[in-house]
């Protein structure tokens, strides 16, 4: 959709520029803050020139804080864009990767890798497998997501009711989690502890080639989503209209599923199940930009997702203390109220979805 009138066009641009500035600002803040105090000027020089007299600071910034901030950006973009695509595909404001059990599906994929890996049954052990291991885990997690997604898509064809679909999603998520629980039941206590740590979610620990692999997959998924944006726009009018406008719905659906599964699968594999980002950010972006045009919404959700994920990460670090909160706790605390707001303010839901 082309915005012809000058007014909405410029306001989109202004909001976008504002978001870029905010994203850059919070990225810097995220790198700046942490349990070790590093002066601002040093941080800037390390980021831009990669040099510092203090090797400990250099190590902290380059090996810990920068990868973590980059991971936050990837997670923010990936989860929110996959949520956006799902909301359009299902024509359901309550769709999202964690809500419909897609992250649980990815968790199942991760668990499957761990099961077949035998003794080294922990995510941290898998991470030690190196580049092939990281691909394996991404493939399995994406397949797990795709499995749940296609199951939900199959059921969604028969159900038009938003809330019922949500309940079905929760049920499928529960089934998936039960399967994982069986595996947990037969695991060693220390493995269990590590699994539980994984479910808390963590942006740290994605380093070296893992980060490159994750970046590559997330960028590919985002590109796939952006390429589908014309089709997503057509789908806004419903599948029958989309088909009458020349869209091959099955192919589009496959593209969207591939993108969503890759994004959710890869991120969940490395960072654990991170809730509420996928459902909440598309809504915030829609009301911020006042549009349903995916060519604007996809970059928009990326930026809003980046900003909010960085803020969540900053909060999770509890600035000024030595404690770090699990990221999933923070996103849930911020995201769940947004979902409640969506359900309560029927107006908001109606304006986008009816």
């Amino acid at each position: 959709m082309q915005i012809d009138s000058a007014v909405p066009g410029t306001s989109h641009k202004l909001v976008m520029i504002g978001l870029v500035v905010l994203a850059a600002f919070f990225f810097m803040v995220d790198v700046l803050l942490g349990s070790v105090r590093i002066p601002f000027s040093e941080v800037v020089s390390i980021i831009f020139s990669g040099k510092s007299e203090n090797t400990a600071w250099l190590f902290i910034i380059e090996k810990i804080r920068l990868p973590k901030a980059v991971t936050a950006v990837l997670v923010g973009c990936g989860l929110s864009v996959s949520g956006l695509q799902m909301q359009t595909l299902f024509r359901n404001p309550l769709a999202g990767p964690s809500e419909l059990g897609i992250t649980a599906g990815a968790g199942l994929g991760v668990a499957a890798v761990m099961l077949t890996a035998g003794s080294s049954t922990s995510i941290y052990a898998i991470r030690q497998l190196g580049i092939s291991g990281s691909w394996l885990i991404i493939v399995m997690a994406s397949l797990g997501s795709a499995l749940v997604l296609s199951l939900i898509l199959l059921i969604a064809g028969r159900i038009r009711d938003n809330v019922i679909l949500l309940i079905v999603g929760v049920m499928i998520g529960t089934i998936t989690i039960s399967v994982i629980s069986i595996w947990q039941y037969f695991s060693q206590p220390e493995q269990l502890q590590e699994y539980i740590m994984w479910t808390f979610g963590s942006l740290g620990g994605v380093v070296h080639y893992h980060l490159y692999v994750l970046s590559a997959v997330v960028i590919f998924g985002l590109l796939l989503a952006f390429v589908s944006s014309k089709a997503l726009n057509a789908l806004l009018l419903g599948e029958n209209y989309a088909r009458s406008m020349g869209l091959t719905v099955s192919r589009t659906r496959l593209m969207i599923m591939a993108s969503t599964s890759l994004l959710t699968g890869s991120i969940t594999a490395f960072c654990g199940p991170i809730g509420f980002i996928g459902i909440a950010i598309p809504h915030i972006t829609r009301s911020l930009l006042g549009t349903s045009d995916h060519r604007i919404l996809i970059p928009g959700t990326c930026l809003v997702g980046t900003v909010l994920m960085l803020i969540c990460d900053i909060i999770a670090q509890m600035p000024g203390t030595q404690t770090v909160l699990p990221i999933n706790v923070v996103t849930s605390l911020l995201g769940a109220p947004v979902v409640i707001w969506i359900i309560i303010s029927r107006n908001n839901m109606r304006s986008s979805f009816s």
Binding site: Q2, K230, N233, N240, S244, G246, S292, R295, S351
Partner: protein
């Protein structure tokens, strides 16, 4: 007068549903044509299979046998993107993306013509503006769909179909949910569109009288799926209309072109005199009370209707009695008493 060209034609078409091993035939052996510049209304009782036919013609549903040709090409051979340039749709389903502006929805109609990202050329913009103007909604351009009334929404969806720039437009019950003025407006709009832009327009509707007035051709679908086609007046005169909607206690009144409740011998007959309009409405009210009326005689019971400055007065005279009432409701009440007295 340009030579009429057939844009859509079916040959020995059988439509219906197939699920597993069971096949449900809705309608068979259909040989229908849609011609350029004509508006065709598909009429039929509920459940006759109008929607199935529309869906089959639009390629949204597979046919059981026979073929559909769109501008000479087999529908089954057309790629979705090519079909989208020949045939557009307006469906009954409410669109759920109320957040979209009118302009955005109409712009979506250009989807078959734009590139991978959907950027518009100047020609695309021109077609969009033409579509907005043809439906009379350019001033709504920036309004959001959820701010519009049902009638306005329907016009937006029509504008979207027009922007798609196809020779054939199929509309599934475009007048449903609309009030009477909007219904009339929509039908005339479609009729003019067919004439001016030489498009073939097919719409399914329940508006018998409007369809009779505006359609160039009718497709009358009977309960069994049989379809009679022709000019509305022909179908009225050859009885196809009556047989399509045949139902107990209903009859098709050829002189007025409307359906009425079955006429029967009334226990009480009354003569009327007065202004034409007033007689018309009084007659209707009395028929509902099962009281027969006549205007060219004076019976024992006679009503004289006059319109005075203070309102309408019905003067009921019988034998030596005269009673005056100022509303049809009180007239009906009074006559009910009389009717009960005369009927054993």
């Amino acid at each position: 007068m340009s030579k009429s060209t057939s844009l859509l034609a079916t040959r020995n078409l059988t439509i219906g549903y197939k699920s597993g091993n069971t096949t449900k035939v809705i309608s068979e052996n259909l040989n229908l044509t849609l011609e350029a510049g004509k508006m065709v209304c598909l009429l039929g009782p509920n459940g006759a299979g109008k929607s199935t036919l529309m869906r089959s013609l639009a390629g949204l549903q597979n046919v059981l046998s026979g073929d559909i040709r769109i501008e000479g090409e087999l529908l089954s051979d057309l790629k979705p993107s090519d079909l989208a340039k020949k045939l557009s749709l307006v469906l009954t389903e409410r669109i759920e993306a109320g957040n979209l502006t009118v302009q955005e929805v109409v712009t979506l109609g250009r989807t078959p013509y734009t590139g991978w990202l959907g950027n518009l050329s100047n020609y695309d913009r021109e077609r969009i503006n033409l579509a907005l103007e043809a439906t009379g909604i350019p001033e709504y351009k920036l309004r959001r769909i959820h701010q519009l009334s049902d009638g306005e929404r329907q016009k937006v969806m029509l504008a979207r179909a027009l922007a798609q720039d196809t020779n054939i437009i199929l509309l599934d019950e475009p007048t449903a949910h609309l009030d009477l003025p909007s219904r009339v407006e929509m039908m005339h709009l479609l009729h003019n569109l067919a004439r001016k832009s030489n498009k073939a327009i097919l719409l399914s509707t329940h508006e018998l009288d409007l369809a009779l007035q505006t359609a160039d051709q009718l497709w009358l679908m009977k309960q069994g799926g049989e379809i009679a086609t022709g000019v509305p007046e022909d179908l009225v005169l050859n009885g196809a209309f009556e047989s399509a909607f045949a139902k107990k206690d209903f009859y098709f009144n050829r002189s007025s072109g409307t359906f009425s409740i079955q006429e029967s011998t009334f226990p009480l007959n009354i003569s009327l005199s007065g202004n034409q309009d007033l007689i018309f409405w009084t007659k209707r009210a009395l028929e509902r009370e099962e009281i027969g009326t006549l205007t060219d005689a004076v019976f024992r019971y006679h009503i004289d209707i006059t319109e005075t400055s203070s309102g309408i007065v019905w003067q009921l005279k019988w034998d030596e009695n005269i009673s005056m009432v100022t509303s049809l409701e009180s007239l009906a009440n009074e006559l009910r008493v009389i009717k009960n007295a005369v009927t054993p």
